[in-house]
């Protein structure tokens, strides 16, 4: 944390950059980090929270080692993106926005990852997986889907 802050001067204008850098290091923005950033930039803590809650990129909960982004853009939607999401939810037993208790996976939906030709697609960290089927999802995530789950 201090090492990350060391790269900045502590001016108000750096707030978003600092939030990004800290999130990159910690994976998310815990309360203690936000309080430290508030002190460092002399921005009131409510404003640090206000800014970070405004942008979708900031996370307030720990994120899994593998961040799964399931595309729900138009092309993926047409080609069954919802079913893919459903299958992943069942296998990881978490909903979008959630993280598995072992901090291995977190799940999010995204609007489009720009790989429409491969629809339906997901990304796990920086890797893209395309032309997915429920079976392929099983190959990627393993585990058994809970029948008649949520």
């Amino acid at each position: 944390m201090e090492e990350v802050l060391g790269r900045f001067k502590g001016s108000r204008g750096e707030l978003i950059g600092i939030l990004q850098a800290v999130q990159e290091r910690l994976g998310y923005l815990p309360e203690r980090a936000m309080l430290r950033i508030a002190r460092f930039t002399k921005v009131p803590e409510s404003q640090v929270f206000g800014v970070s809650s405004f942008y979708a990129q900031f996370r307030f909960k720990p994120v899994g080692r593998r961040r799964v982004m399931v595309c729900q853009g138009t092309a993926c939607h047409v080609r069954g993106g919802a079913k893919i999401l459903d299958e992943i939810e069942k296998r990881l037993k978490i909903r979008p926005g959630g993280t598995t208790p072992d901090l291995e996976y977190s799940l999010d939906t995204v609007a489009c990852i720009g790989a429409c030709a491969l629809a339906p697609t997901i990304m796990i960290n920086k890797d893209t997986f395309g032309r997915l089927t429920q079976k392929k999802v099983g190959d990627i995530f393993g585990g058994t889907p809970e029948k008649g789950g949520e």
Binding site: M34, E45, S46, V48, G50
Partner: protein
């Protein structure tokens, strides 16, 4: 002032350059609908209702500055339809429970809606989209119903721009946008300071006071809490105090108030007020008549004339109350044994600044602080103890002023400070002298000021030889580089104001600390100029006044020495009696005197030494040794319970009089309700008259002030008529045509030579430092939510919710080592006593230092504190003593 002429709706409007179209229109009486504009705040442009047509373009009136020749139309067909739709969307989000909303008829949403003529039919076309927000009832004084919030941001900006707390901001985004604290928690769990500034500005029913009762009448008066002296309108229904509303015309607070000033007045009508005199019979205090009580007091006191008697007057009482008490002690009882709690706070300021400058008071004015370019705030937790002065500092810093905080504890002001010097408690002389040495070494001193306005500089320069930076670093614990940086900042960014409070004075070398402050300010020429000065922030509402009135053992009213034959002659002539020439005993000596039977009878008004004075066991022993104790108070305080006679006094709301605030401003206190007891000045006069004394036939407090004005030169021009204005009068005000003095020492100092005097100093460590047995250093202070021994604030339920019990603040490392966790009960003990408290683990406390307040009768911090006295001012060392901390 540069003016601009424009036309609004065909009317020619002349206005100040830089004003917005909205301001120009409103000033001219032209209404443009708006919701997010507030005259105290910068433009925001959130509500989009103030759109106007400027030369064919649609612009926001609040955000567009006026320009010469501009043609503005406030109403066009297009504007009307845009405003209407904007308003419809706002109304669609808003619950329509107007008739049971306490903002009904004062709601801006209603006003704009009516102005635009929105009908039920208009709203029927929209799908209802109400937000479901539970009401945040966590704050004891007001509720936050975010379902009614229109997101105008006035509360957010007030908290940021006016209060400088920044407890709330816009959180989240789009339709989920709401006003949020950090982590969107209830307000009471945030850093909200409960000042209520947002509450008074909220244009709708989103922020409403709890149990709101509108007053049926209001009286302008002075706040009874701290020395800032905020002016407000006290609101009453019948004989009950129900509200207080800041007076915007006051140069002191401009309408702003803190939590105590706005919400802390329920003590006035508290059920435990004593309303009948009490007299001890068979060991018990029983109710009696005024006649019996006064006769009894007069008869008994007659037996203790001379130095066996002592009076303790009160920094909570009016100038008039204090004047007659000291007159009773001197003229009737024939002793100078009179003192009050100033002994425990700013006696070193009175003594030290009198030596340096000739006047022991704040040199500059509160309003002045907005002109300050650099603050050195040493030993003052300003935002807690003097909240509205804290706002001035925050505002000045916001406008670019530098702030150096010097304090062992990480106080709230550190959040915005440029530098935080964390000196070890009790090392202030070394710190201040170290800064002076660096300033001299680097040639940053004001040579012209030193040469023309001061004396004794060479001796002072010589004394600084002992304070080389390495030594100062070793003593204070402040790194050399920080010392240099701070010295340069204070010496070069001008004007620089030095602010201090108990952190400087409550030491066994408190007077030296004060002298060191004076030295540093003179060295840099920061005196007699706006925005500069040495500014002791005085604690009690009228502690300045009670000193001015001669509530001190060595001086008559107006600081005329009792051992000066000339002064004595003046007062003997005025009062028609012979007066004692020997200075009397100080507060701390009075209790020593009681123990060794030199003092036998005490008349104590509006003080609670059993809780407020260091080494409380000693004080208690002194009180128990007395033959006769009369206590005059609002409540049966811990001290009053030990009295032989208790006389019911009146609060600030029940009597007329004056308070003199920390900046020497004499301001009116006005009777607002029927007295529950008798006004203090009247009780004292009745005692004096029952003893057959002459010169106590005052008809009213104005008559007492007339006598004060005739005797105390500083008050020479003060009359009640002149105090009717919004600003009162700042002393010295020697004559009826004198306008008062906002800044002292502008041309010369008050010393005999007219020059400021440098005083050479040496470093003396505190008298009791931690050792193996008592390894922690305890330092004490005040909370934002309570005042002194809590006689008033502990009777306000809301303030008790915000700060319910005594906490011992301890650093995380120390707590970890002792295995103490946050919220755990602990026992703190010193050589003199022990108390229980709750641990609060916080990095605000540096390693080895713990902190407590002294507001709580159930955790009597002053059982622990040190009785070591400053040799000059006789102030006890409340800021440093050695303690140990254990699990309860």
């Amino acid at each position: 002032m540069e003016t601009v002429t424009l036309t609004i709706d065909g009317m020619e409007v002349r206005t100040q350059k830089g004003a917005s179209i909205l301001e120009a229109a409103l000033a001219r009486g032209i209404y443009i609908p708006h919701l997010c504009h507030h005259p105290d705040l910068g433009p925001f442009g959130a509500c989009r209702l103030c759109l106007v047509d400027v030369n064919g373009r649609m612009l926001l009136a609040c955000y567009t500055p006026v320009a010469e020749g501009m043609k503005v139309s406030t109403e066009t067909g297009a504007l009307a339809s845009i405003r209407k739709m904007t308003m419809m969307l706002l109304l669609n989000d808003h619950p329509s429970d107007c008739t049971v909303c306490s903002k009904d008829s004062k709601c801006d949403l209603q006003k704009v809606s009516a102005h635009l003529g929105i009908t039920k039919a208009d709203l029927a076309i929209l799908r209802p989209a109400r937000r479901e927000n539970p009401v945040d009832t966590s704050n004891p004084f007001f509720d936050r119903d975010l379902a009614k919030c229109i997101l105008c941001g006035i509360c957010v900006r007030t908290c940021d721009e006016i209060q400088g707390a920044g407890a709330i901001d816009f959180g989240f985004r789009g339709s989920k946008t709401t006003i949020a604290t950090l982590w969107d928690r209830p307000l009471a769990e945030s850093n909200c300071e409960s000042c209520g500034e947002c509450l008074v500005r909220c244009p709708v029913g989103a922020l409403v006071p709890k149990g709101a009762k509108e007053p049926s009448r209001e009286v302008r008066t002075t706040c009874p809490y701290c020395g800032v002296g905020c002016q407000f309108f006290l609101g009453m229904r019948g004989n009950e105090v129900v509200s207080s509303r800041g007076y915007r015309g006051s140069p002191v607070n401009h309408g702003e108030l803190c939590a105590k000033g706005r919400f802390g007045h329920s003590f006035v009508n508290h059920k435990s007020r004593i309303t009948k005199p009490l007299i001890r019979k068979d060991g018990k205090l029983v109710k009696t008549s005024w006649e019996e009580a006064l006769t009894h007091v007069a008869t008994r006191l007659a037996g203790y004339k001379g130095d066996a008697f002592a009076a303790l007057c009160s920094a909570k009482c009016t100038n008039e109350d204090n004047y007659v008490i000291q007159k009773l002690a001197r003229a009737v009882m024939g002793t100078n044994n009179i003192d009050h709690c100033a002994r425990l706070c700013h006696a070193p300021s009175v003594a030290g600044l009198a030596q340096s400058f000739g006047s022991g008071a704040m040199t500059n004015s509160i309003e002045d602080l907005l002109e300050t370019k650099c603050f050195l705030a040493i030993g003052t937790n300003t935002t807690s103890a003097h909240p509205v002065i804290g706002l001035r500092i925050r505002k000045a810093v916001r406008n670019g002023a530098k702030l150096i905080v010097a304090n062992p504890r990480e106080i709230e002001l550190c959040r915005i400070s440029d530098m935080f010097l964390r000196q070890r408690p009790g090392t202030d002389v070394a710190l201040l002298s170290g800064l002076a040495r660096i300033i001299l070494d680097e040639g940053l001193e004001d040579r012209e000021f030193i040469a023309q306005r001061t004396e004794n500089f060479d001796e002072f320069r010589k004394s600084l030889e002992a304070f080389d930076t390495a030594t100062v670093e070793r003593i204070t614990g402040v790194p050399a580089e920080e010392l240099r940086h701070a010295a340069r900042m204070y010496a070069t960014v001008k004007p620089a104001a030095l602010l201090y409070s108990m952190g400087i004075t409550q030491h066994s070398h408190g007077t030296d600390n004060v002298l060191a402050c004076g030295n540093l300010a003179m060295l840099t020429g920061n005196l007699g100029k706006p925005g500069a000065g040495v500014n002791p922030l005085r604690g009690q509402n009228n502690v300045q006044g009670s000193c001015d009135m001669g509530g001190l053992p060595n001086v008559f009213p107006g600081y005329q020495r009792v051992d000066s034959a000339e002064a004595r002659l003046k007062f003997e002539k005025a009062w028609g009696v012979a007066l004692p020439s020997k200075p009397g005993l100080t507060l701390t000596e009075i209790f020593d005197g009681a123990i060794n039977k030199a003092i036998k009878a005490v008349y104590l008004v509006g003080e609670n030494p059993v809780l407020s004075d260091p080494d409380a066991h000693h004080v208690e022993k002194g009180i128990k040794s007395l033959e006769f104790l009369v206590v005059q108070d609002l409540f049966l305080t811990e001290t009053a319970e030990m009295a032989d006679v208790v006389l019911p006094a009146t609060s600030f709301a029940e009597k007329d009089g004056t308070f003199t605030n920390t900046e020497r401003r004499v301001q009116r206190v006005r009777r607002a309700i029927e007295p529950l007891g008798r006004p203090d000045w009247l009780v004292t006069c009745q005692i004096a008259k029952a003893m057959g004394a002459k010169g106590f036939d005052f008809q009213d407090p104005a008559g007492i002030m007339a006598e004060v004005a005739s005797l105390a030169p500083q008050y020479g021009g003060v009359t009640y008529d002149r105090l009717e204005g919004p600003a009162g009068l700042q002393w010295p005000c020697p004559s009826k045509d004198h306008p008062g003095t906002p800044i002292l020492h502008t041309a010369k100092f008050n010393t005999p030579s007219g020059k400021g005097k440098f005083v050479p100093l040496g470093y003396i460590p505190p008298k009791e430092l931690p050792d193996d047995e008592y390894p922690f250093l305890l330092t004490t202070g005040r909370s934002l939510y309570h005042f002194h021994t809590g006689t008033m604030t502990r009777k306000s339920d809301g303030l008790n919710v915000l700060h319910p019990r005594e906490f011992l603040e301890i650093g995380p490392e120390d707590a970890g080592r002792l295995g103490i966790s946050d919220g755990e009960r602990i026992v703190v003990s010193s050589r003199r006593g022990k108390v229980e408290a709750t641990a609060k683990v916080t990095a605000a406390s540096p390693p080895g230092v713990v902190f407590m307040t002294f507001h709580f009768a159930e955790s009597r911090t002053n059982l622990l504190t040190s009785p070591h006295l400053d040799p000059v001012a006789k102030i006890p060392e409340a800021k440093v003593c050695a303690v140990k901390v254990e699990k309860a």
